[in-house]
Symmetry: C2
DNA sequence: CCCGAGATGCGAACACCTCGCAGATAGAAC
DNA sequence: GTTCTATCTGCGAGGTGTTCGCATCTCGGG
């Protein structure tokens, strides 16, 4: 799989990198392009895999370091999905519903937890970091505890 | 630190183990007693540490396996708290608010997410597994992004 | 008290992630 | 375009949290 590394969307992110005085390197360009184009919710390893298909020299540890920089920049976020590796995605914060059975990731809008955030803040003084950990459970296909694992998929509900 | 291994509460759990045909061993007795008596939200390693204080022969992998059995039995649950090791606690399901700054774990009642569960079920057919992953954020003491790490603590709000 | 399924101790292996270091390179300054 | 150097990178080693295989041990039914 190959990803375009020079779309306006990619350039916009690279500009943000340049603004901070950091450098735009091949590895960073590839990470950004892959994150933008690829199916959502990749682990660092997925990401490295896609990239290495064309650029085998890009090392997993570089991918991790790049993701770390991009997170500091605020253009990337990661989400803990229970067991297993975190998943990374571009900027816009949203919630992740992760099926414990098949691993499917369902994106849900921010507004979903607005009431809860308000309540947590009022009752506990707790400031919820939205999106940083997924909401685990069962998707509709596995709610009844049916068996059988599908490879992870991803669904976005606007 | 030492824990009583023959209180009625401990025996009740051990009886549940016996009921299923599984065996009651020293290690299991110790894990149960420690989970009941110790400060809440222990990692497997914490648990092994406490136990090994008096019973150094109990191996960490046995603690993991015992916790796994107890979870299958439904008397123990674990919660993912973002980075780092999962924490284990006895039965009654509740939510965990975990401060990303200091690691403090705040227990919150089930009812807190009732509305959300209802909404998820209605809108997404998603069946939320309450308590399986913590809600990450900042506690009141760290909400403003102040620095300085405390050792983990634990607070329960009824 | 004997026996066998089941549990244990132990270390190795594993998955995910981070780090240290030596060498490469982006990009500012000329 | 050449030079310079802070920053990045590739690489392997290391760390942490968890699981596994296997030989041994033991609970508890007969």
């Amino acid at each position: 799989m190959t990803f375009l590394t020079d779309t306006p969307e990619v350039e916009a992110v690279l500009d943000r990198i340049r603004e901070t005085g950091a450098r735009v390197t091949t590895a960073r360009r590839l990470v950004v392009a892959t994150l933008i184009d690829a199916p959502a919710h990749l682990t660092a390893e997925d990401l490295a895999g896609f990239i290495q298909h064309r650029h085998p020299e890009v090392h997993l540890s570089t991918v991790y370091r790049t993701l770390e920089s991009l997170e500091k920049l605020g253009v990337v976020e990661h989400t803990h999905v229970g067991h297993g590796a975190s998943v990374y995605h571009m900027g816009v914060t949203h919630h992740h519903l992760v099926c414990e059975e098949c691993g499917v990731v369902i994106d849900a809008p921010m507004a979903l937890l607005d009431d809860l955030r308000e309540t947590l803040h009022r009752q506990y003084g707790f400031d919820l970091h939205v999106g940083h950990s997924a909401l685990l459970g069962r998707c509709d296909r596995h709610a009844a505890g049916r068996v059988g694992h599908d490879p992870h998929g991803s669904i976005t509900i606007p």
